[in-house]
């Protein structure tokens, strides 16, 4: 148990230390250090998951509370400094609000002696997040070593970028293991700070504006957490800052207000409408940042918090509103994405949309829903990471940013086109993990219809339509980049930097391995994690008729194997296959011999975005109002 604690502490400490080393070491040594530390982090998180038997707490000395307090204050001072430097009124006002709340909290804490000992709580959910964070972010970090090297900025800033990335990974590890809300608040705000630094990295006007937007939106989340702390401390029955105690006490106390505030913080971090614009604005940053924010780290805090809250809010009006909001966001973000041409913006909207689905599943909170949420978190993380890293390759090697310019990519970069296709397909079609998530969520919503009557029926409708819209969106992009003329039948692969290639192939292998090992993952991985989340055992069994039952759901294995043989395997074969005995003729264009420029269809849905945001705001207000009443 002691060694496990030390390992967890090393997860916290290793990334910042490696980052500091990176700052002082020369380039090649820095690369080696980064890769080594990333490998070590992944190995530690895998080992932790393998050797874990029951949840444990990490006890740290008393004075660290004071350190956290001071860090909080320093952070606020820095925010105030940003507000003055950038002349941003919103950030300033929110910082003042945070300062007042923090002051009040410190005063409350002064009266409130004892009872705050559990600072870090490690259960399987934390370990699950460790795995995702460390492995996927590790891949991103290795990738960005090369990417940031091709960036046009000073060597010091390059090192600083890598440093920020590494300490951010450390902070993410802290976020998912913090039990004390005060600590959680600090780490939450640190991720906000990281997003500010990342987004403003390119220093132009647009970057700074978007970074400020990200800052103030996430500061609202910070205020919500502070509010939750103050409320919980001053309410009889709660009187605690511990996440676990709070969640356990909630059903008996019956006051959901602090939980609602935490949920609001989560939803803002998860870029649910109307707060989606901070994540969309993050597109101006270098691509590894988008990959980091979208796939495994920043936004995944949202489903993580809701998963933590799930046992307490299951079946309450709060969860109903969250379900309604996220179901709506799933559809709305998918529709808004149709109007986009920029590749990264398309990916961003689809992230917002799928995050909605994840939070929805977490909010439903039945055993199968939790498993589905976990499946979505993991596989969405990997797929999105691969897509974003590919967007970086497209930008640096092919100089492509708009999806419309990607016509004929399969001729100049068949491997890149193939990986993008697999990335998109893995989000919507069988047999991939994200598809299993979508499929299960429809069935789960279908099976909860009886209890909630009409409400989830509408959400189900939104999911059904949103899923179709998302497939259309992916086809829109894929359609352009997979087209190639028959002038040459043999596919010749492009050469990209090995650091790019290795990471992409690694992610591809992870996705395919995820498909193949899904039955084993369900029994040995998702099942136990979900049991820890719910606090009660989730039955994941292998049935006699080659299927796996998760609660009431059934995952038949044979159709999935067939789908695996058809889809990823056949796409892969289609790259290499050549029919030698077959003649090649021109495409039929009524006998014309002109070369055409292709374009995809365009949907004018941009004007709907303000309305969507307004509806989202109504839902946010509902969350607060319903829980106050």
């Amino acid at each position: 148990m002691r060694s496990l604690q030390l390992l967890v502490l090393s997860l916290f400490a290793l990334p910042p230390v490696a980052g500091l080393l990176l700052l002082i070491l020369p380039k090649v040594l820095g690369r080696i250090v980064t890769i080594l530390s990333v490998v070590a982090l992944s190995a530690i998180s895998v080992y932790l998951f393998a050797s874990f038997d029951k949840p444990f707490q990490i006890l740290i000395p008393e004075y660290s509370d004071k350190v956290v307090m001071i860090a909080d204050v320093l952070l606020l001072v820095y925010f105030a400094f940003i507000a003055i430097k950038r002349k941003s009124v919103l950030v300033g006002l929110l910082t003042i609000g945070q300062a007042i709340a923090l002051g009040y909290l410190i005063k409350l804490l002064g009266h409130h002696e004892g009872g705050i000992h559990a600072q870090f709580y490690i259960d399987r959910l934390s370990l699950f997040m460790f795995l995702l964070i460390n492995i996927v972010s590790g891949i991103i970090a290795t990738y960005s070593l090369q990417y940031i090297d091709e960036e046009d900025c000073s060597p010091y800033r390059k090192k600083f970028f890598m440093f920020t990335m590494l300490w951010f990974i450390g902070v993410m590890n802290l976020v998912v293991s913090a039990d004390n809300l005060e600590y959680f608040f600090l780490f939450f705000e640190l991720t906000t700070l990281a997003s500010y630094i990342f987004i403003s990295f390119r220093k132009d006007n647009e970057s700074v504006n978007n970074a400020l937007r990200a800052l103030w939106m996430n500061q609202i989340g910070g205020i919500a957490i502070l509010g939750a702390m103050i409320y919980s401390l001053s309410t009889i029955g709660y009187g605690t800052l511990s996440f676990q105690t709070l969640v356990k006490a909630a059903p008996t106390v019956g006051l959901l207000f602090p939980l609602a505030l935490l949920a609001v913080a989560a939803l803002i971090k998860g870029a649910q409408m109307p707060f989606s614009s901070w994540l969309l604005g993050a597109m101006v940053a270098p691509t590894p940042v988008s990959a980091l924010l979208h796939s495994s780290t920043m936004v995944k805090i949202a489903p993580f918090i809701i998963l933590r809250l799930a046992p307490a809010i299951k079946g309450t009006s709060l969860s109903l509103v969250i379900i309604a909001l996220t179901g709506f966001v799933f559809l709305a973000a998918a529709i808004s994405a149709l109007a986009q041409d920029n590749f990264k913006r398309i990916l961003a909207f689809s992230t917002v949309s799928l995050l909605g689905l994840m939070i929805l599943m977490a909010a439903i909170g039945t055993d199968t829903a939790i498993v589905t949420c976990l499946i979505l978190i993991l596989f969405h993380g990997i797929s999105k990471c691969m897509l974003f890293l590919n967007a970086g390759v497209l930008e640096k090697k092919f100089h492509l940013k708009s999806a419309l310019d990607m016509d004929r990519l399969a001729e100049s970069g068949p491997f890149t086109a193939f990986v993008v296709c697999i990335g998109f397909i893995s989000l919507m079609l069988p047999p991939f993990g994200a598809f299993v998530g979508k499929w299960f969520s429809i069935e789960i919503l279908g099976s909860t219809l009886r209890q909630t009557r009409g409400l989830t029926a509408i959400v189900m409708l939104a999911i059904a339509c949103g899923g179709a819209v998302l497939s259309l969106l992916y086809f829109k992009v894929m359609g352009l980049l997979i087209s190639r003329s028959g002038e040459k039948d043999k596919v010749t692969f492009e050469t990209t930097h090995p650091l790019y290639n290795v990471n992409l192939i690694l992610l591809l292998a992870l996705i395919l391995a995820g498909v193949v090992s899904l039955p084993f993952l369900l029994t040995g991985y998702f099942g136990p994690v979900a049991s820890d989340v719910l606090g009660s055992a989730v039955a994941v069994d292998v049935q006699s008729n080659y299927s796996i039952s998760i609660g009431t759901m059934n995952l038949p294995v044979i159709p999935m194997i067939l789908a695996f043989l058809i889809l990823p395997v056949s796409l892969f074969i289609s790259l290499f296959i050549r029919f030698r005995k077959v003649d090649r003729v021109k495409e039929y264009t009524c006998g014309e011999k002109i070369d055409y420029k292709f374009n995809s269809f365009y949907f004018d849905t941009e004007f709907l975005l303000p309305y969507f945001k307004a509806v989202g705001l109504v839902f946010f207000a509902l969350i607060i109002i319903l829980t106050v009443i």
């Binding site: 028959g486 002038e487 039948d489 050549r578 029919f579 030698r580 005995k581 077959v582 003649d583 090649r584 003729v585 021109k586 039929y588 009524c590 006998g591 014309e592 011999k593």
Partner: protein, 177 residues
Amino acid sequence: MFELKKFRKKSPWILHFNAGGCNGCDIEILACLAPKYDIERFGMINTGNPKQSDILLITGPVTKRTRERLVEVYNQMPEPKVVVCCGSCASTGGIFRGMYNIEGGVDQFIPVDVYVAGCACRPEQIIDGVVVALGILEEKTKEIEKTIKLANKPVVEEDGQVNRRNMPAELTYETTV
């Protein structure tokens, strides 16, 4: 013995190509498809797509602008295939023969199997011509037919794949006026 060859006769899919005619013959071809003559009872479908058809029905004389297209469409049809010229213009150039914009009959550019006379040819005649063509179709082999008057031959690439993409319709001799 089960022979795939005999099924060619049972499902001839046609492609209708107007090389520059006055639309008289085209109307007659469409009349064949309509309920009165109903050539679908023989399994014929007007596919509108060279890649899936067996019979190329051509109407009208070849003009300077349709020449390339005609050869390209002919090229895209997979063998075995037959070409039927409907009407006198397609067969010889007809009343347009010798005009400044007319290249002449279809047989100057692609091998023709059946000529159907008439201006415009009657539906009965077209059906008759197609039936004759079906007889020829059944005899044909799958070898690439010689596109006799094309300057460029199909390219055989180093691994044995035949590339039929670039076969421009250039004349090997002057048209006789």
